[in-house]
C-alpha cells in the first residue's frame, strides 16, 4: 500500500513537472483588439455548448452500451411501430433545440460580430495598405503622421537556422522575426487595405483576430485596433508557394507619442536613402550593399550561391540576363535585359520596382554582375535606375 502511494505520487509529480515545463496553449492567445476579444467570447461560448451537447449525448450512449448488452441478457425492446405523431414529435425535439442554439444563442451574437468585423470605415483614424508578395509583406502608410512611409518586411531569422539539417540552437522567435516591423499606434482604429502582387496571401495575427486574403488585382479591407502596447506576431495563412512558411508578420503597437516619433525618424531615414540615388557610388560600395539586398530578397529562390533551383528558379551565375548588356545603343534599358527583369519581373519573378529603392536595385544588379561567380565588370548607378523609372 505504501509502495503504491509512492508510485502514484511519483507519477503525478512527473506529470505536473512535464506540463509545467512544456509550452502548451489550450486556447486562443490573449486578445488585444475588440475583434479578437469578440472572437474569443464567441469561440468559448460555442465550445461550451458543443461540449455540453457532446458529453450529454456521449453519456446516453455509454449508458446504453453498458446496460443494453446481449451479454447481460438484455432483451431488445422494439420501438413499437411508432405512430407518425410520435415519430414527428421525437424528430422535432432535437430540431427545436438546435434551431434555438443555431439561430438564437449562437446566431444573434454571430450577426453582430460579422457586422463589426466588416465595418472598416466608421471611426477609422488612419489607413494603411498591406501588400503580400512571394514571400514578404510590404507596408505603406496612406495618411496621418506617417503618410508616405513605405517599406518591405522580410523574415530575419538567420538563413543558416532555416536550412535543411541545421541542428544548432534556434532563435527564441524562430521564423517569427522580421527586419522591418509594422508600427501602429495603440487605441486607434486602423483601416487596412489589402492586396497582393503575385498569388494569394493572407495577413493573420492571431492576437488581432482579423485575417483577410490578399488578392492580386483587388483591394480587400479589414481593420485592427490594438488596445494594448506590445509586440505581436503572425504568419501568412494562405499557401503561396515554397516560401509560405517564411513570411512572418511582426507588429509593434506603441503609444501615440512614440508612434509620432517613429514616423519622423522613419521619414528621415527614407529621405536619406532617396538622396543616395543622386550620389555617385563606387563599384565596391555597390557590390557590398548589393550582397545584403541579394541575400535578403533574392537568395530564397536564386540561392545565395547564384545557382538557382532550376527549372523553376534559374541560375544567375553565367546566365544570359546577368551577363549581357543592360542598356541598348539608344541609352534605354533593353527589353528582357537585366534591369528590365528586376524592375518589371516576369511570371514568377516579382516586379521589384515597387519593393526596392533605386540604390537597392542598382546595388543588387551590380552585385549579380560582379559577384555570384560572374565578372562582367560594369557598374549600374542608382541615378540610372532613377532615370529608367521615368
Amino acid at each position: 500500500m505504501q509502495g503504491f502511494r509512492k508510485i502514484v505520487l511519483g507519477v503525478s509529480a512527473l506529470l505536473i513537472s512535464l506540463s509545467a515545463r512544456a509550452d502548451y496553449a489550450w486556447n486562443f492567445p490573449e486578445p488585444v483588439t475588440p475583434m479578437a476579444l469578440d472572437t474569443l467570447h464567441v469561440h468559448n461560448k460555442f465550445m461550451l455548448i458543443s461540449m455540453a451537447i457532446f458529453f450529454v449525448v456521449l453519456a446516453i450512449m455509454i449508458y446504453s452500451i453498458f446496460a443494453h448488452r446481449k451479454s447481460k441478457n438484455f432483451k431488445p425492446v422494439a420501438d413499437k411501430a411508432p405512430s407518425t405523431a410520435t415519430e414527428i414529435f421525437w424528430t422535432l425535439i432535437p430540431f427545436v433545440i438546435l434551431l434555438l442554439i443555431d439561430f438564437v444563442i449562437m446566431g444573434i451574437p454571430a450577426y453582430h460580430s460579422v457586422v463589426m468585423m466588416e465595418d472598416t470605415r466608421n471611426e477609422a483614424k488612419m489607413v494603411i495598405k498591406i501588400t503580400g508578395s512571394q514571400w514578404r509583406w510590404q507596408y505603406e502608410y496612406l495618411d496621418g503622421d506617417a503618410k508616405g512611409i513605405k517599406f518591405v518586411s522580410n523574415l530575419s531569422t538567420p538563413k543558416v537556422q532555416t536550412d535543411k539539417g541545421y541542428e544548432g540552437v534556434k532563435d527564441e522567435q524562430y521564423l517569427l522575426e522580421v527586419d522591418n516591423r509594422l508600427v501602429l499606434p495603440v487605441g486607434e482604429k486602423v483601416r487596412i487595405l489589402m492586396t497582393a502582387t503575385d498569388v494569394l496571401h493572407n495577413w493573420w495575427v492571431p492576437q488581432f483576430g482579423s485575417s483577410r486574403v490578399a488578392v492580386p488585382g483587388f483591394i480587400r479591407e479589414t481593420w485592427v485596433q490594438v488596445d494594448k502596447a506590445g509586440t505581436y506576431r503572425g504568419q501568412c495563412k494562405e499557401l503561396c508557394g515554397k516560401g509560405h512558411g517564411y513570411m512572418p508578420i511582426v507588429v509593434d503597437a506603441v503609444p501615440m507619442e512614440e508612434y509620432k516619433a517613429w514616423a519622423v525618424a522613419k521619414n528621415a531615414e527614407m529621405a536619406k536613402a532617396a538622396a543616395g540615388s543622386d550620389k555617385e557610388w563606387t563599384k565596391d560600395e555597390l557590390v557590398a550593399e548589393g550582397k545584403v539586398v541579394y541575400e535578403k530578397n533574392c537568395a530564397v529562390c536564386h540561392q545565395a550561391s547564384g545557382a538557382g533551383l532550376p527549372p523553376a528558379f534559374p541560375a544567375l551565375t553565367g546566365s544570359k540576363i546577368t551577363t549581357s548588356p543592360i542598356f541598348g545603343a539608344d541609352g534605354k534599358y533593353l527589353k528582357d535585359g537585366h534591369l528590365d527583369r528586376v524592375l518589371n519581373g516576369v511570371r514568377v519573378m516579382p516586379a521589384w520596382k515597387a519593393l526596392l529603392n533605386d540604390t537597392e536595385i542598382a546595388a543588387v544588379i551590380t552585385y549579380e554582375r560582379n559577384g555570384l561567380g560572374n565578372s562582367v565588370g560594369d557598374v549600374l548607378q542608382p541615378s540610372q535606375v532613377k532615370a529608367a523609372r521615368q
Partner: protein
C-alpha cells in the same frame, strides 16, 4: 450436347481467367472487388505521403523534406485520399452490395461499370507520375498548390498542375459513369415489392450521392479546364489583369468541394444504421426521418459552398447567408444522430468489430460535426480558417466519418464477400489502436490551430513543438495499425472459418439470404419483398 450448352449459357458463370478476367469483367462483384482493392492500395500510398509530412513536422527546423516537395505531398495526399481511396471504396461497396440489397442479378450498365473502374488506375498514375519525372529532371514535381488548385499559384505552378487537372478529369468521368449506373440500377432493378421507401438505407445514401456527383463534378471539371486554358491558352478567367478574378475559382471549386464532403459521407450514413440495427438486434429507428434527412442534407450541400473561404472577402449579406445556411445543416444531421442512437437504445447489443467501428464512428464523427458548427461562425472562422484547427476538424469528418465508416462496412460485409470470417481479435485490436491513435494525432492539432499555427507550412515556430511531436508519434501508430487491417483482409480472403449465410445474428436485408460468398450472378430469380 446442346442441352449442356443451354445449361451453361443459363448460369453465365463462365469467365476468362487470369488478368483478362479483371480487364474484361462486367460482373458487379469483380468490379466491386477491384474498386475496393484499388482503394486499399491508394489508402496506403496516401498514408505514406502523410507520414513523410508528419516526420518532417516532428520537430521545428527542416530535417527531411524541402519546402517544394512538402507542398507537393500535402496536395497529392489529399487528392489521393479523397478521389482514389474514399470515393472508390464507397463505389466498391455500391457495386458489391446494391444488386444484393435490391435483389438484382447485376448492375444495370455492366460495360460502363467496367470502364468506370479502369479510368481510375490511369488517373492515379497521372497524379503521381510527376514525382517520378522530376527524378529524371523533367518538370519540377507534382501539384504543389494543395488539393484546392487555387490560382494564381496554380497558374504559376509547373507541369504537376497539368497532370493533376487531367487526373481530375478522368476521376470525374469515372464518378459520373458510376453514378449514372447506380441511379439506373436503383430505379429499374429493384425486386418486386421493394418500393423506394422500402429500399435499404445504403441504397438511399448512394442514390443521393449519385445525384450530387452528377450535379457538381461537371462544375469542377469546368473550373479546372478554365485553369488549364489560363495556364496555356492565354485566357484570363482567374487573372485580374485580364478582367478575371482569382476568387471566382474558389466559388466554382467549392460549389463542387462542399457537396464532395457529403458525397464521401452519405454512403457511410447509409450503411452505418444497417450495422447498428444488426448488432442491436432491433429494427432501425426512424427510417423515414433518416431518408428525409439525407435528402435535406443533399439539398443543403449545394447552397453553402462559400463558407470555405469567408476570409477571401465578400459582402456582409453573403457572409450572413452562408453562415446561417451552413448552421442549418446541423438540423437534419442532428435528426440522423438521434435516429442512430435511438436504434442502439434498448437493443440487445453485442460488440463485434463492425459494431465497435460503428459506435466509435458516431462519437468521433460527432466531434467533426460539432467543430464544423463552430467553423460556420464568420467572425470565429477568421481565426480558425487555414489553421490546424481546420485540419483537425476535417480529419474528424473525413478520417473518422469517412474512412472509419468504410472500415466498419468492410468488417460487416467481408464475411459475405469472401465466405470466411475475419480474425475477430485482430479486428478489435485494429479498432482500438485506430481510435486511440487517431485522437492522439488530431486532438493536439485543434490546440495547435487555436495557438495560431497555419496549415501547409513545412517548418514552424518553437512554441508549437510539443503538440506537433505528440501528433507525429500518434500518426505513426495510426499508420502502422492499418497494416493489421490489410493483413486481416488478405487472410480472410484466403481462408478461415466458414461464414454462414446469415453471418450476423441480427443482420437484415436480401444480401444475407444468399450464400456466403454469393454466386457469380447474384439473384437469378428475383426475390419478392413484402
Amino acid at each position: 450436347m446442346s442441352t449442356t450448352t443451354v445449361a451453361h449459357h443459363d448460369d453465365h458463370a463462365e469467365h476468362p481467367t487470369g488478368i483478362m478476367r479483371w480487364l474484361t469483367t462486367t460482373n458487379h462483384k469483380d468490379i466491386g472487388t477491384m474498386y475496393l482493392t484499388f482503394s486499399l492500395i491508394m489508402f496506403l500510398v496516401g498514408g505514406s505521403m502523410i507520414l513523410a509530412i508528419r516526420a518532417e513536422l516532428f520537430q521545428p527546423g527542416l530535417q527531411l523534406l524541402n519546402p517544394e516537395f512538402f507542398n507537393q505531398l500535402i496536395g497529392v495526399h489529399a487528392l489521393i485520399m479523397i478521389f482514389a481511396a474514399l470515393m472508390p471504396a464507397a463505389t466498391g461497396f455500391a457495386n458489391w452490395m446494391i444488386p444484393l440489397q435490391i435483389g438484382a442479378p447485376d448492375m444495370a450498365l455492366p460495360r460502363l461499370n467496367n470502364w468506370g473502374f479502369w479510368l481510375l488506375p490511369p488517373s492515379a498514375i497521372l497524379l503521381t507520375l510527376p514525382f517520378t519525372l522530376a527524378l529524371f529532371g523533367i518538370g519540377d514535381g507534382a501539384l504543389a498548390t494543395g488539393w484546392t488548385f487555387y490560382p494564381p499559384l496554380s497558374v504559376q505552378g509547373g507541369i504537376g498542375v497539368d497532370f493533376a487537372i487531367f487526373a481530375v478529369h478522368l476521376l470525374g468521368i469515372s464518378s459520373v459513369l458510376g453514378s449514372i449506373n447506380i441511379i439506373v440500377t436503383l430505379f429499374n432493378m429493384r425486386a418486386p415489392g421493394m418500393t423506394l421507401m422500402k429500399m435499404p438505407m445504403f441504397c438511399w445514401g448512394w442514390l443521393i450521392t449519385a445525384f450530387l456527383l452528377i450535379a457538381t463534378i461537371p462544375v469542377l471539371a469546368g473550373a479546372v479546364t478554365m485553369l488549364l486554358t489560363d495556364r496555356h491558352f492565354g485566357t484570363h478567367f482567374f487573372d485580374a489583369a485580364g478582367g478575371g478574378d482569382p476568387i471566382m475559382f474558389q466559388h466554382l471549386f467549392w460549389f463542387f468541394g462542399h457537396p464532395e464532403v457529403y458525397i464521401l459521407l452519405l454512403p457511410v450514413w447509409g450503411f452505418i444504421p444497417q450495422i447498428l440495427e444488426a448488432f442491436s438486434r432491433k429494427p432501425m429507428y426512424g427510417y423515414k426521418a433518416q431518408v428525409y434527412s439525407l435528402w435535406a442534407i443533399g439539398a443543403l450541400a449545394v447552397v453553402v459552398w462559400a463558407h470555405h473561404f469567408f476570409t477571401a472577402g465578400m459582402p456582409v449579406p453573403a457572409l450572413l447567408y452562408f453562415m446561417y445556411s451552413t448552421m442549418a445543416i446541423s438540423l437534419p444531421l442532428a435528426v440522423l444522430f438521434f435516429c442512430w442512437i435511438k436504434t442502439m437504445w434498448k437493443g440487445s447489443m453485442s460488440f463485434e468489430t463492425p459494431m465497435l467501428f460503428a459506435v466509435g464512428w458516431i462519437i468521433l464523427f460527432g466531434i467533426g460535426g460539432l467543430t464544423g458548427l463552430v467553423l460556420a461562425d464568420v467572425a470565429a472562422d477568421a481565426q480558425y480558417h487555414n489553421s490546424y484547427f481546420v485540419v483537425a476538424h476535417f480529419h474528424y469528418t473525413l478520417f473518422a466519418g469517412g474512412i472509419m465508416g468504410i472500415m466498419a462496412g468492410t468488417y460487416y460485409w467481408l464475411p459475405k464477400m469472401t465466405g470466411h470470417m475475419y480474425n475477430e481479435k485482430l479486428g478489435k485490436l485494429h479498432f482500438w489502436l485506430t481510435a486511440i491513435s487517431f485522437n492522439m494525432t488530431f486532438i493536439p492539432q485543434f490546440f495547435l490551430g487555436l495557438a495560431g499555427m497555419p496549415r501547409r507550412i513545412p517548418d514552424y515556430a518553437l512554441q508549437f513543438a510539443e503538440f506537433n511531436m505528440i501528433s507525429t508519434i500518434a500518426a505513426f501508430v495510426l499508420g502502422l495499425s492499418q497494416l493489421i487491417f490489410v493483413y486481416n483482409i488478405v487472410s480472410c480472403a484466403r481462408g478461415g472459418k466458414k461464414a454462414t449465410d446469415q453471418v450476423w445474428e441480427g443482420a437484415k436485408g436480401l444480401e444475407w439470404t444468399l450464400p456466403s460468398p454469393p454466386p457469380y450472378h447474384s439473384f437469378t430469380e428475383q426475390p419478392v419483398v413484402k
